[in-house]
């Protein structure tokens, strides 16, 4: 019997999708046992089973995803290995070195170093995440005011070293990729809501 479960209501009551399965009492006397066997033998249930698998074989409705060649799409809010993004126009790093991510990280696994460079601009010299401790909670991405640290979609993390994903050079979008327009904007945790461009007032640049 096909039965759709109502996921919003898991309480057992009259209107929910739960129902009691009829289970007959076990036969006690020999004659009753015999009758049960005869009933089961001739009810053809075994052939129903044979028919069902044969039907599936003929329909050939294969559900296998041949993984390395085919991949299932993952949700936009999936929290895989981090990325540091760049500004689209100038190519500068988005990260302003505010340190909020370092502060909020509950596993205390972000480590960064900053300095004031020649143009009196704060420059992030070191930025690394210890993936051995990161729990991929997404707080760093959520707290970042610049949308600089985000979670990427890269879930295949085979490498010789864990550190290969999470020192600054690995996370930062390379400039040539940025120029080729291959930097993906992050729609997940803490990202700009769609249509936010319209609600932003332009700041005049020259007086």
């Amino acid at each position: 019997m096909h039965h759709e479960e109502v996921f919003t209501d898991r309480n057992v009551n009259e209107s929910s999708a739960y129902y009691y399965v009829d289970i007959e009492n076990y036969p006690t006397t020999g004659w009753d046992k015999f009758k049960q066997v005869v009933k089961r033998t001739f009810s053809g249930e075994l052939f129903v089973g044979l028919w069902v698998v044969m039907r599936e074989m003929i329909k050939f409705d294969i559900h296998t995803v041949q993984y390395p060649m085919e991949k299932l799409p993952i949700g936009p809010r999936y929290r895989a290995v981090h990325k540091l993004l760049r500004l689209w126009e100038s190519g500068y790093e988005r990260c302003i070195g505010c340190g909020l991510c370092e502060k909020i990280c509950i596993s205390d696994c972000i480590r960064m170093d900053t300095r004031i460079d020649e143009n009196s601009r704060k420059e992030v010299t070191e930025y690394s995440i210890n993936l051995g401790r990161c729990i991929f909670c997404g707080y760093c991405a959520e707290v970042c005011p610049e949308l600089a640290i985000v979670h990427g979609q890269r879930y295949e993390n085979a490498s010789e070293q864990r550190a290969h994903f999470v020192i600054k050079d690995d996370m930062l979008t390379p400039l040539d990729m940025l120029k080729a327009g291959q930097q993906a904007e992050y729609p997940g945790f803490g990202a700009i809501i769609p249509g936010s461009d319209e609600s932003v007032k332009k700041t005049p640049l020259a007086y």
């Binding site: 044969m54 294969i62 041949q66």
Partner: protein
């Protein structure tokens, strides 16, 4: 006994060994594919086109794997047990006619190693000896799962062997010979002469017993993965385990041949059409082994014994008695 006969017999033995070892490998391929399709999967796909070379990969793996003999096993018995299973499976094939006799290059070939007059008795007897593989292997393994498996194989063996014998008795009474060739020729008159029409009960009983004989689902109790790991095979590795495997699959093919020949007319009148029909029948029975594995649950050992002793055996006895009464009048 002349030299030509000896050479011919050896050639036949080699051919049968090669063909059925290869078929046992291919059987595993088909099993995986059929089970996969029935469960909406693809099965092996990566080794070779459509995974066809998976068989070769498995073979290489089994042959090159380290042969581990655990510390506390009874070593000579542990080592000989897989050989018993594989060897008896192939020895049983000696009396099975795989193909009608044909003439090639002016030489008449009988595709049967030995047409002995007790053919079917020999086949079943040798197949029954195959039981010692799981039994001894399980008992020698120093492993509780293996021991349970050995106990089960002995208990099941006594149960189904009675059914096999009694079920076959009725058709044999009609044919009056134990030679598989005679049984085949008895049904040579075409589909209406098949023994399955006159002995449907014996056919079903023998078929059920064949599942127990080969240890396939629903009677896959001797090596039931979800209860007793791999049963008698738990401690085995590499080619020793592979021999159990080859034995099991070769047994499936041979018992399929036996059912087809005894009940479904075999190769009929011996023409090519009849021979192809025999292969089709065998393929069907082999496929059915896979089919039930996808569809049916396993039963408990006590249920199997209950079924064999309290249900099937009385039916088989009644069948023999009824056949006898009908033949007397």
């Amino acid at each position: 006994m002349d030299v030509a006969f000896i050479i011919e017999t050896i050639a036949k033995i080699v051919v049968i060994l090669l063909i059925f070892s290869a078929l046992a490998g291919l059987g595993t391929y088909f099993e995986r594919k059929v089970l996969a399709f029935m469960q909406r999967r693809l099965g092996p796909m990566h080794v070779g086109p459509y995974g066809l070379l998976q068989v070769a990969a498995d073979g290489i793996k089994l042959f090159t794997k380290e042969d581990i003999v655990p510390q506390n096993v009874v070593k000579p018995i542990f080592k000989i047990a897989p050989v018993i299973t594989a060897a008896t499976a192939f020895m049983a094939s000696a009396a099975i006619p795989f193909w009608p006799q044909f003439t090639a290059f002016g030489y008449t070939v009988h595709p049967i190693v030995a047409d002995i007059n007790v053919g079917i008795l020999y086949v079943l007897g040798i197949m029954a000896i195959g039981l010692y593989g799981p039994l001894l292997g399980g008992m020698a393994s120093a492993n509780k799962w293996s021991l349970i498996s050995a106990a089960r194989s002995a208990a099941i063996f006594i149960s189904y062997e009675v059914i096999t014998g009694l079920a076959l008795l009725a058709p044999l009474m009609m044919v009056g010979s134990l030679s598989l060739i005679d049984i085949n020729n008895y049904q040579a008159g075409g589909i209406t002469h098949w023994i399955v029409w006159s002995q449907p009960v014996a056919f079903v009983l023998f078929w059920i017993a064949a599942f127990a004989e080969t240890g396939r689902t629903p009677f896959h109790l001797v090596a039931n993965d979800h209860e007793i790991i791999d049963g008698f095979g738990t401690e085995y590795s590499g080619m020793r385990w592979g021999m159990f495997f080859i034995g099991e699959y070769a047994n499936m093919f041979f018992i399929s041949f036996v059912i087809s020949i005894v009940f479904l007319g075999g190769f009929g009148d011996g023409t090519i059409a009849g021979a192809v029909q025999l292969l089709l029948k065998v393929s069907f029975f082999f496929f059915f082994f896979l089919w039930t594995r996808a569809a049916w649950p396993d039963i408990r050992p006590d249920q199997l014994m209950w079924l064999c002793w309290k249900v099937l055996m009385p039916i088989a006895v009644l069948n023999v008695v009824a056949t006898g009464i009908v033949m007397m009048f």
